[in-house]
Amino acid sequence: MTDVAIEVKGLKKTYGSNEAVRGIDLTINTGDVFALLGPNGAGKTTVIEILEGYRHKTSGEVSVLGHDPENKEKAFRERIGIVLQETGVDPFLTVAETIDLYRSYYPHPRPVDEVIEVVGLQEKRDERVKKLSGGQQRRLDVAIGLAGDPDLLFLDEPTTGFDPAARRNAWDMIRNLKSLGKTVLLTTHYMDEAQNLADRVAIIRRGEIVVEGEPGILRGRDTDTRVRFAAPAGASPPLEAVATSDGLLEIKTADPTRTLYELTSWAVENDVRLERLNVSSASLEDIYLELTADE
């Protein structure tokens, strides 16, 4: 048993003249939750669909659980679970029946009720699929992905469209999977999701990985402190400030004590009120936005 679940070297995928994936290297260890982050159109889904065996790579090396997914081997499919972004199920079967149907495709499936419990659909066990809410259907998607007791689970944007409570539940569920020793590869465009769940993250932008590592290393990339405030019209602060999307001015600084001193003493001397003044370190969201911004 190797401790590397997924190994990717120099992966490229082109559609005509469009380079969707431009040389990606990736190593995902067995038992890790790995998050692939990036804005829409960055190439996340293309990468994950190559790893699942839905797409053929243009060049590079891909090994998933020791298989090349392109060969679509049965032995490979028996060990993976796939939760795609938009996939339907038969609306007239019940939750338990649907899981039972998908279980039958695998050699060593998990018991129906165990899977239902992992995703928290016990109360909807005998409800027909068409009567489930969007969030419940998404949980059923995950349940189907788990039915065959896979070693590796692909989750493509598992919480898109969830309300905050449903997202927390989904996170608990994914932590639950990790405690079962599963390797999980998830894509998301929510930074907090990656931060809360992942052992490792990679940020992909325009078909290339711009940063990869533990969620903590992202923080280390940007230690500047943000000083944000609203200044009245006409007032020009003594320091260089940029406008943020929420109408504030922002100063990035490596020396927040001095910056604050200069800013506040200017404000006091000129009798300027600094509304909504706040001082914070860079959030992962800030770093993510900077990394994925178009220059």
Partner: protein, 258 residues
């Protein structure tokens, strides 16, 4: 589970799902019966005398036409529409990501369509026998079974094949009806055209609809002696089944088209 066990399992779930959509199940069954009633009203169900002086109900000539129609609705139309819907809905893509072999999934779907074709045939014949004096085939029963198996299998394969040319589920009814309704009219299923133009003759000869209809006519024709096997017609339908499989292999896709 073995592949065959899996196919049976798949069939059972298809069947369960089918009957849980009562509106769809109801209309699938009553559509052919409705035509049987209409034909009898429109064309009359007078007795027809044979050269030997025996008389037979005219329904013996309607029923095989309705059977041809039933087989085509239950297989071609049904498979084409439902598979396009499942493709666009992502159900096929999901299935493709599991270890189940493709042929098992398609086999489950097609065997259910074939079973529905048989069920509709039994209902249609029973209805005709009960209300319109249709003679239930006896000496030609083996021929009837062969035609139903070959016909429903072939039209199910053609249903799979046509999905390759349906861009999305919304377009499915239009494409399917456009491909089959004219053929039903040009193949003497709904109306018998006396002295058809040459091109219409050829349409009937080339496409499978008239062949299955004529093969079934022979089975129910009380004036026709023998076992009822019209191998040229049955063979033509089977050949279309092979063509259907070949087209499906080339053009059928598992992923939604966007």
């Amino acid at each position: 589970m073995s592949d065959l066990g899996l196919l049976f399992h798949q069939f059972r779930f298809e069947n369960r799902s089918f009957w849980r959509n009562p509106a769809a199940a109801f209309f699938t069954i009553f559509f052919p019966l409705m035509f049987l009633v209409i034909f009898n009203v429109v064309f009359g169900n007078e007795d027809i005398a044979s050269p030997t002086g025996e008389t037979f109900s005219a329904s013996n000539f309607f029923v095989p036409a309705i059977l041809a129609f039933s087989v085509i609705t239950a297989t071609y139309t049904n498979v084409a529409m439902s598979m396009t819907f499942k493709r666009d809905d992502g159900q096929l893509k999901r299935v493709r990501g599991t270890p189940m072999p493709a042929w098992v999934y398609l086999g489950g779907r097609i065997s259910h369509a074939v079973a529905m074709a048989f069920m509709l045939s039994v209902i249609t014949i029973a209805f005709g026998a009960a209300f319109y004096g249709t003679e239930i085939p006896t000496t030609t029963l083996p021929a009837l079974l062969v035609i139903l198996v070959v016909g429903s299998g072939a039209f199910a394969a053609l249903g799979l094949a046509i999905t390759g040319f349906i861009p999305n589920a919304d377009a499915a009814p239009a494409v399917v009806n456009f491909s089959i309704l004219p053929l039903l009219f040009l193949s003497d299923v709904f109306i018998k055209v006396e002295d058809p133009p040459v091109w219409m003759d050829w349409v009937g000869k080339i496409f499978p609809v008239k062949h299955i209809s004529l093969a079934l006519q022979t089975v129910f024709n009380p004036f026709e002696p023998g076992s009822g096997f019209e191998w040229d017609h049955i063979g033509a339908v089977a050949l279309w089944g092979v063509i259907g499989v070949a087209i499906a292999v080339r053009f059928f896709t598992w992923e939604p088209r966007k």
